[in-house]
Symmetry: C2
Subunit: 146 residues, 2 copies
């Protein structure tokens, strides 16, 4: 536990992981503009730490070889369960703006959502699960998750 | 998610919650001596923040009224699912010293473990789930969790 927290017990690191996981963000510029107001030096530092912890890897962008794109590793995508529980907890106990029905549906469909997150990662499916705060239905089980 | 992280995206805060949840620690002195090497001023600060966020409450110790005892609120105990996922993730991907079999059994018995954590909290059962790094069997289902 203590070791897990040393790695992920940092707000910015987990936000970067979330942006990669459900928002489809990939580049430094995208993280910078994601709306959380992260300072450039903190973003650089956290990307470097996440890379050294093997939670993300850096690849060349096929469209622009000077630009780096980031991708979650297996270890990184396995944080999906932690993030999902954090999301459910926050929505239940804080005023997050996520509608109650959405969260309870998510809580009841954990396995389905996690399977979809893993599938998108594995198949490099770039379509985000969350767009501007709104959740998109996993294709595998559209009637369950709204 | 961002709101959840503002609250719990801090290593020390989550370690205090863990100490209350599974180690049976209750007082300032116990947290201080729990082995993580937290500085007194940081411990005070985090206890105050956790209290103001309604994750813990402070009560008088029946044995010594000058001493405060801390207790998780409903909101605090609901972090159990987050901590369990962090534990499973850390044990799978880092060298935490938790035997692989223990973790996989935990991962397969999430609901049972979370129910036991909630029961102990509700009934104010002080027996810790984890003692010196070793996990104790939930009474409810002793053959499942080793």
């Amino acid at each position: 536990m203590s070791i897990s927290l040393e790695i992920v017990g940092d707000r910015w690191s987990l936000l970067i992981v979330r942006d990669l996981m459900v928002r489809g963000l990939r580049t430094f510029k995208e993280f910078q503009q994601s709306g959380e107001g992260i300072a450039t030096n903190i973003l650089s530092d956290r990307l470097r730490k996440l890379e050294s912890r093997e939670i993300i890897t850096r690849e060349n962008d096929p469209a622009d070889r000077r630009r780096a794109r980031y991708r979650l590793t297996q270890k990184g995508i396995d944080l999906a369960a932690v993030l999902l529980e954090l999301l459910v907890w926050g929505a239940r106990h804080e005023n997050t703006g996520v509608p109650c029905g959405v969260i309870e549906t998510m809580a009841q469909n954990r396995e389905c959502i996690l399977a979809e997150v893993h599938r998108r990662w594995k198949e490099r499916d770039p379509s985000p699960l969350q767009v501007k705060g709104e959740w998109r239905l996993p294709r595998s089980d559209p009637q369950k998750v709204k």
